[in-house]
Symmetry: C2
Subunit: 249 residues, 2 copies
């Protein structure tokens, strides 16, 4: 019997340094809403997404004629007309077809930036759960799941999604987990999966988004498997993964 | 109606800076085994405990004639004859009566050190759950629970204990929580409370201690309310709290 691959979960970018060693494949997730929006935009025809860390950088790209999206604290930043609502990318799919979009968000793009030196960085969400986990199982490589959290803190929705990914990988029989963060996430996912919307009632970011009238966005982001796109980071851009495009690290 | 006090949970010393603002009362926990041992030692007659960060420092105190205890990675450090087993403090209670003990451990004493500038630092464990929570409720002050974790990472046993403390405070009606870390810990505690030993089966530190034949220690540490002592930090020493000794900050 060959040794199992590892799958572990890091709760936020602040802890990345403690968990990243020995992993060359990182799955970045930010369920509410950056990575859900990235998966959606690429599935609905956006050619590529340039994640940038700062609003200033996004503004610079906008001045050069690019479509730029910026979100901070759940809201579209002043001076931009696009944020990280996945539904907005569906509504404007025709306009965005084949385009490059520059994106900065409160947490998600920061997490992508912190992982960018790894051999393989892919984007996860509940929306692409089956597609992503099938690909990971086929790949047979150690997997670190990096939750974007909220301003470097633990958050519940990313933990549920990370737990879902880990659960599928472990249940396949080919993966095992050592860290208590992974054990806890898997447990929380299993407790939440039958009604994630209700489970997240008390979560801090759902309260934040409810105040902003973004319940429809939340419901969309909590819908597993309405997408099949796996975005991956290639030369600084997020693009749609085409099968076996990434050599094993 | 007056505003509720806050109770929040920080999963490890690595995240303390993100959570500590506005709190002047910190409860430090390290269920396996430092804070369980501290509560036990003081309850069984040790006069005071000097927590120190390094093994070298503990050795220096030993040379000066103090009883010194040192644990790293679950084991007693070479050259010492005492670690953080609570049962050892019970067995040797007569010998230790009225004594000062210097203590350094992998995680717990580091967490105490990081919180030491707060107005009030008290020590929590499952062993003193009722005594501690009754005192906190009477006190009516914002409470930050700092889990020691494992080498700056999240761990399950501290999360369960932190969740237990938060649960009692919130159920009292006088406290509320905002952070997802608190919501998740409370949920995990409620899922685990009826059989914590089994729930922790998969946890990394229980596996570590099982290898070291420390299952009896684990069972003791997971027993709620076999102690009533609340240790608190006074001029660099952990001593038994005598009612109302600490002025409100």
């Amino acid at each position: 019997m060959s040794a199992k691959c590892r799958v572990e979960i890091c709760f936020s970018p602040a802890e990345y340094a403690l968990y990243q060693e020995n992993f060359e494949l990182v799955v970045v997730i930010d369920v509410l809403r950056a990575t859900s929006a990235i998966c959606t935009a690429l599935e609905y025809g956006v050619e590529r997404i340039k994640p940038v860390a700062s609003v200033d950088e996004a503004r610079d790209w906008m001045k050069k004629g690019f479509i730029a999206a910026a979100e901070r604290n759940g809201e579209i930043v002043e001076g931009f007309e696009l944020g990280n609502s996945p539904l907005a990318y569906i509504e404007r799919a025709e306009e965005f077809l084949g385009k490059t979009i520059v994106l900065t968000t409160t947490n998600g793009t920061k997490a992508i930036d912190i992982a960018k030196d790894k051999h393989t960085v892919v984007i996860g969400a509940l929306n692409n759960l089956d597609a992503l986990t099938s690909w990971l199982i086929e790949r047979q490589e150690d997997v670190l799941i990096l939750a974007s959290g909220w301003k470097d803190k633990f958050n519940l929705e990313d933990t549920i999604c990370a737990g879902a990914i880990a659960d599928v990988l472990i249940e396949s029989g080919d993966f095992a987990a050592d860290e208590d963060s992974t054990v806890a996430s898997k447990f929380i996912y299993r407790s939440a999966r039958d009604n994630m919307f209700a489970f997240l009632k008390a979560s801090s970011h759902r309260r934040r988004l409810r105040k902003l009238n973004l319940n429809e966005d939340v419901k969309y982001c909590l819908t597993p498997n309405n997408l099949t796109t796996i975005p991956f980071l290639k030369d600084g851009y997020l693009v749609k993964l085409i099968d076996r495009e990434i050599p094993i690290s």
